[in-house]
Symmetry: C2
Subunit: 209 residues, 2 copies
Amino acid sequence: MNKKGLLIVISGPSGAGKGTICKSLLESQEFWVSVSATTRSPRNGEVEGKNYYFMTRDQFLDKIAQDDFLEHAEVYGNLYGTPKSKVIEMLNSGKNVILEIDIQGALVVKDNYPDGVFIFILPPSMEELRNRIINRGSETPESLMTRFKSAYKEINYVSKYSYAVVNDTVEVAVNKIKSIVVAEQCRVDRMKENFTYSKEGLIHEQFYD
Amino acid sequence: MNKKGLLIVISGPSGAGKGTICKSLLESQEFWVSVSATTRSPRNGEVEGKNYYFMTRDQFLDKIAQDDFLEHAEVYGNLYGTPKSKVIEMLNSGKNVILEIDIQGALVVKDNYPDGVFIFILPPSMEELRNRIINRGSETPESLMTRFKSAYKEINYVSKYSYAVVNDTVEVAVNKIKSIVVAEQCRVDRMKENFTYSKEGLIHEQFYD
């Protein structure tokens, strides 16, 4: 019933496996995965419009000035952002759009686009995330503790999301995300705009077509 | 993550096809479909505990007095109700429980059990429901109009539900309901109770297991 596409924001702590999940979602034709813009120079094999939209700092700042980013951030001197116009165009064409995005960016998108579906990817287990943090290799117990603390901080943001999907296996996680999309399309509060209202109430006129 | 089962309330206007959908859901082992209690006498082939729990009016009134119904109503002099204790028992055992129930009953359940998943089954199309109403055969235009009006009234209750599933084909509708259940199990607000909290926040301790 809902002709407009859904903005599906896939986010979560580093090491949870967002990237693999989004690659797999991209393979099914139901979704369009947004491509980020960046001012950093292309690495070997990176394709314009596939891996990133590469642009100069001036071009990027122009887009910021035109409010053409859903969110943007500077990381190690390079600007990264999610182009807004293309996303909105795809949503209006009825395509479900996937944004793979870090937690800070996701919260900005949530402020600008509260109708989005915000999904937090959790690592297979807390034990597993702990191991990954340990295996990343930290010399001192202090730095290990710092990594733990930042991991807790990130995990705590799950409470700002509507859904949490544990990435035990990619296939299971992807199927859960597809189920979430089907369910969101069945939500009455999303359908209402597509119903006809009247004094007698919802979809009254449709009986008299 | 959520060990407790979900109470899934399947409701909607007469002629939408709730019954067929619930029969099909029952065939998959994921669900337990609640059996209603009634004071009416069994019809040929009806099995105690399968079609209904048959009881005397006194037994039924005792259960009302013990607050052992999620909802109950009198129809043509017979009492019908949804036994509470069995439903709660199944939910606590982690089973997802299906209630197939009329709109009035569903709204009572919603008051008593807001954590339920309330799904409204819509007929394949407004046109189709209209045809069904016409084909049920009413002599006078007046009585036809009365049926239309009550159908509109029923359909309007969709706004009190979280989800609406159009019963175009039973298989598609059943798969949508299964997706809704998967999605609800991924809802953060349902998971929280299963996380460990601490001053540092969600699932902090789990890192130190």
